[in-house]
Amino acid sequence: MLSNNRKNSVITNNYSAVTLNLFYFLSFLAVLSALLVVFSKNPVHSVLYLIITFFSIGGHYLLLNAEFLFVVHIIVYAGAIMVLFLYVIMLLNLNKETEPHKSNLLKVAATICGGLFLIILVGSLKGAESMIQVQNSNIGYVKNLGMVLFNEFMLPFEISSVLLLAAMVGAVMLGKSEKPGVNN
């Protein structure tokens, strides 16, 4: 399929060049903002960088023809989870001054551990068989994904609704004040 593509036309080549450049741009953005999440001093800045990371991962989903997951990803992560994080950070009034820090020795150790872990991961990928992307794949569309979700994965889908209900009840129970009649 790859060699056919090359023979086909200049337009296809241009298209894949654009795709590759988009991939590099989104990857760079994702990695850079992920690093800034870890290294920024202010927790609010960390959340904002995390939103950038999530948007660039959403862009990757679009490049992979997963439109439905792109929309769900934006709604769930940028819409729900990030708002929750920001609310909690502002509720607890966390800022640069209240931020606890580890000692420099532990920071260096953490960085070395991360680097070694990356070496293990990349080393385990070495020699993997190369695969070719399916052209004009339509499995990521809402229609096809809905068919799979409501046929094969019907029971897990229903159980996940129970999970979300349990999480909601649990969050409310935990957030309630312990002494009756006291609102703090």
Binding site: V148, E152, S160
Partner: protein, 100 residues
């Protein structure tokens, strides 16, 4: 076309940054964010493989992972708020009462 290795490397890097963040920071909220980062790295690999193998099960699994992540964040942040109410800090090094 983008080779699948690129997606695997990108996910490996993102996952490593998440692991490093968990080891590097002491604020429990930042650690939560790094866990989200790791979940997203795995999601990206799942979507990539589902596209390259032309199998939609991977994308359905990502959908379920998102549901679990949302539940996890809701309960986790509620626990954090309770913890802050008791200790007035989100520093994880304070929480050592269960240490033997």
């Amino acid at each position: 076309m983008i080779p699948i290795e690129y997606y695997l490397w990108l996910s490996a890097v993102l996952f490593t940054i998440g692991v490093m963040g968990v080891l590097y920071r002491r604020n429990a909220i930042i650690i939560f964010m790094c866990i989200e980062l790791m979940l997203n790295a795995v999601n990206l690999v799942m979507v990539a493989f589902s596209n390259y193998l032309n199998d939609s099960s991977g994308q359905v699994f990502v959908f379920f992972i998102m549901a679990v992540a949302a539940a996890e964040v809701a309960v986790g942040l509620a626990i954090l708020v309770v913890m802050y109410r008791n200790t007035k800090t989100t520093d994880i090094d304070i929480l050592n009462q269960l240490k033997w």
